[in-house]
């Protein structure tokens, strides 16, 4: 059984790890490398169009020749309409409109269909993404399938959990501020196309996009809406120990040159330390689920109870979004 790290290595042209960024309990190790494949449309070509029914999200790909990728568990929140999220990733063929009818409603007692304008976008928090991993959840056409999980997710954090309104969380003034502050602490670096995300030095997910343009378009949804949101909730519940990375002792009288060397090797050791952790997480199942315009969508599960989507062009993965 291959480790999840082996899956990362399957990305051709190599992926390097950039310098770690860490704030309190969350660390992000940037993944840098060349753009993947050559057939994925730029993210600005993908437009969320509307919800055609409860549980159906429609996207347009305005680029004629190349397919576009809808990120895993992409979430759209609008006003006066039922907010929605994708149950998995998606592929929209070049120049086509596609409706994903396995999407979930995430605002239980709100009626109305979303339009393409004046929306807020994010990616579902990892706790809820994990709820969508079983095939019975992600493939089922049932708009209300995530409601019990959302109610559960909202419990105990001082947010109204009587209704499955995920926006109660994102619209809360203090949480909104905390999420913005959180996103502000991390920044994309040159050539970054992905990241490994850790809570208290334990990997909780990795994300790889086809190009730096995709990463720049979606990183905030991931860092703020997905991982940041989950960490804030866990902190509110008291289930994550408050901590921050311990900085290295600097020997007295170290020169600036010695300090620079010490800090560089400290950052390198933090990055290297994640590899054995990833090697312990094994791929349980890796299977192709669909194919569109030269892109193959695969569903992955891990022995740690996690999983997600990997999209490949031929044998080469060009997109991955996996939570542990």
């Amino acid at each position: 059984m291959a480790s999840i790290f082996a899956l990362l290595k399957k990305f051709k042209n190599g992926l390097d790890m950039g310098s770690i960024q860490s704030v309190d309990e969350m660390s992000v190790i940037p993944l840098v490398g060349d753009d993947r494949g050559d057939i994925v449309a730029d993210p600005q070509e993908l437009k969320f169009q509307r919800t055609t029914n409860y549980g159906s999200m429609q996207f347009d790909n305005t680029e004629r020749s190349r397919p576009a990728i809808v990120p895993s568990n992409y979430m759209v929140r609008g006003t006066g309409a039922q907010d929605h999220a994708m149950s998995s990733a998606g592929i929209v063929a070049g120049g086509k409109t596609k409706t994903f009818d396995t999407a979930c409603c995430i605002e239980s007692s709100q009626g109305g269909y979303l339009g393409g304008a004046n929306n807020e976008y994010d990616v579902l928090p990892i706790g809820l993404r994990k709820n969508l991993l079983p095939a019975s959840m992600r493939n089922r056409r049932s708009y209300d399938k995530l409601w019990p999980s959302i109610e559960e997710w909202l419990k105990g954090i001082g947010i109204n959990s009587y209704n499955a309104h995920l926006r109660y969380f994102y619209d809360d003034k203090n949480i909104r501020q905390a999420l913005e502050d959180f996103a502000a602490e991390f920044e994309p670096i040159p050539n970054q196309i992905g990241a490994i995300i850790l809570f208290n030095e334990m990997p909780v997910g990795f994300e790889v996009m086809p190009t730096t343009i995709h990463w720049n378009a979606y990183w905030k949804y991931l860092i703020r809406g997905c991982y940041g949101a989950e960490l804030i909730r866990m902190k509110k519940l008291g289930i994550v120990k408050s901590s921050r990375l311990v900085l290295p002792d600097i020997p007295a009288k170290s020169t600036p040159e010695e300090l620079a060397e010490l800090f560089s090797s400290y950052q390198q050791s933090l990055t290297a330390g994640v590899i054995p952790l990833l090697e312990k997480i094994n791929v349980k199942d890796y299977k192709a689920v669909s194919s569109t315009s030269g892109l193959e969508m695969n569903f992955v599960t891990t022995t740690s109870g996690g999983g997600g989507d990997v999209i490949a062009q031929g044998q080469e993965p060009v997109y991955a979004s996996i939570v542990f």
Binding site: S27, E185, F186, E187, P188, L245, L247, E257, A260, Q267
Partner: protein
């Protein structure tokens, strides 16, 4: 407000409602508004006098609004410190309005009518200030003002006079009321009032004082008739926006390019309109030598981003000249670290503002030993590498490099986000200080931050209070704010002296 909890920094004078990379303008405004209130309650005189220091028009307008919303007690003489006139608040407000560029000054007055999200205020003081500011000027200046800002003046005059008084003056020719409110400042201003409210000027009125108004009236007539020849004749020398207004309202069939070339633009407008002019095929000559250093950097980077390199050598030359002529602050030899990470690229409403401010600050500091950029993406311009904000920071590297230069003063210009392992900057700083490296660290933060734990900007090191500087001309102000709480009376005396120097004695 208890003095103990008072948090102040000069950011309260430098606010512009434009948002930042991570925050909306509403969040920032609330934070700043709280600080205005705190200072107002702490010491109204200090609050008023600080507006004499360098700051943004918006901040000063908002602070004046707060002063005018709360009556100034005239019974308690003790409230007026020695050296100030009894109506010193009015003097300060008028002085500040006169120092602003006209559009901003009018916007500040419009705050009293409910503009820019403010509450309406109308009292004896506001009435006098509005009318004095508009009409207490010579004929030519009043003529220009009326033609350039007709809509704004109309709102202000209506607000100050009230509908009834206004109607008595413009519809019934009530001379007594006119003299009471307007004639006291400008006895010949009646044609201006009539022009503002689109009332016909009586046939026997002498218009010789108001040539521009006369020209606009002729332009309007030409526009109504779609007489292009007459329109072209009368638009010459009139403000671009006025001409465009008549062109669009009456659908005059004249090319936009002709309007751009024929009408008159301020130096700033011509800079702002450069792109639109190019699109329309018109030739608009920009005088780069008359721009501020900030505006020059702004147009330089704007052109760079548009891959328009035509004027870059000219702009570079103008920047060099401005830099050489700028009044410098000498704090001794200094090494500067500039944070060029992604977040220094600012908000959508004010692109690149933090980074452009950093570059502009370089022109007001003397004795710069070295400049170290941390982060950033290089762009090749005619063989030179130009830094553009991008990527993460690793700010500790900048500090370490600066310490290596043996600098005694290190200025770091950063928004305060490290983007590495949080705390590494402070860890390095403490080590250097504890190991006997003799340097003073000054943190200049060009980005307002509502989530700052103290003050208006984010802090990098516990014992180094950041100086919020949103524009290079505000550096002087910092000293005063740094001492405001610990030495209130000294600062008040400094400000009273400044008042006497700028406005005069009692």
């Amino acid at each position: 407000m208890a003095e103990k909890g008072l948090q102040l920094d000069s950011g309260i004078l430098q606010f512009a409602p434009k948002g930042a990379f991570y925050e909306t303008q509403d969040e920032q405004f609330k934070q700043i508004y709280r600080m205005w209130e705190d200072l107002f309650l702490y010491d109204r005189t200090l609050f008023c006098l600080t507006t004499l220091l360098g700051g943004t028009g918006f901040s000063k307008g908002s602070m004046s609004h707060m002063l005018l919303s709360n009556p100034q007690s005239v019974e308690d003489g003790a409230l007026i410190p020695q050296g100030l006139a009894i109506d010193y608040e009015r003097n300060v407000i008028i002085h500040n309005l006169k120092r602003e560029r006209t559009p901003r000054a009018l916007k500040n007055l419009l705050m009293l009518t409910g503009g820019e999200g403010m509450k309406k205020v109308n009292n004896a003081r506001t009435r006098k200030i509005i009318l004095e500011f508009i009409f207490n000027r010579d004929h030519e200046a009043l003529d220009n003002l009326a033609v350039n800002y007709k809509g704004k003046l109309k709102r202000l005059v209506r607000h100050a006079l009230g509908r009834q008084t206004l109607s008595r003056i413009v519809d019934h020719g009530d001379e007594k009321l006119f003299n009471k409110w307007i004639g006291r400042y400008h006895p010949n201003a009646l044609p201006v009032i009539l022009y503002l409210f689109d009332r016909p000027v009586p046939a026997n009125t002498v218009m010789a004082y108001y040539k521009k108004i006369e020209q606009v009236l002729s332009l309007k007539e030409a526009a109504v008739k779609d007489d292009i020849k007459a329109f072209e004749k009368y638009m010459k020398g009139l403000p671009y926006l006025t001409v465009m207004g008549y062109r669009n309202t009456y659908k005059v069939t004249i090319d936009k390019a002709d309007v751009l070339e024929g009408s008159k633009m301020t130096d700033r407008q011509s800079l702002q309109m450069q792109t639109a002019a190019k699109r329309s095929g018109a030739k608009v000559k920009v005088n780069y030598n008359n721009q501020s250093i900030y505006d020059l950097w702004k147009i330089y980077y704007h052109n760079l981003m548009q891959s328009d390199t035509t004027d870059l050598p000219k702009i570079e030359k103008a920047i060099d000249e401005k830099h050489a002529k700028a009044a410098k602050i000498d704090i001794g030899p200094v090494t500067i670290v500039i944070d060029a990470s992604e977040s220094m690229s600012g908000s959508d409403k004010r692109p690149l503002h933090p980074f452009l401010t950093s570059l502009s600050i370089l022109s007001v500091l003397d004795n710069i030993v070295d400049v170290i950029y941390v982060g950033g993406k290089p762009i090749d311009v005619n063989g030179n590498q130009i830094a553009v904000p991008g990527g993460a920071t690793d700010l500790w590297r900048g500090l370490t490099e600066a310490v290596m230069t043996d600098a005694k003063k290190i200025i770091i210009i950063s928004d305060g986000y490290e983007n590495s392992v949080k705390g590494m900057f402070e860890h390095a700083y403490k080590h250097f200080k504890n190991s006997g490296f003799d340097f003073e660290l000054i943190h200049i933060n060009p980005v307002m931050s509502a989530d700052a734990s103290k003050g208006t900007t984010r802090q990098l090191v516990e014992d180094v209070k950041p100086l919020p500087v949103s524009a290079p001309e505000f550096l002087e102000t910092e000293l005063i704010f740094n001492k405001m709480i610990e030495n209130r009376e000294l600062v008040k005396q400094l400000l009273v002296n400044k008042y006497q120097k700028l406005i005069g004695g009692q």
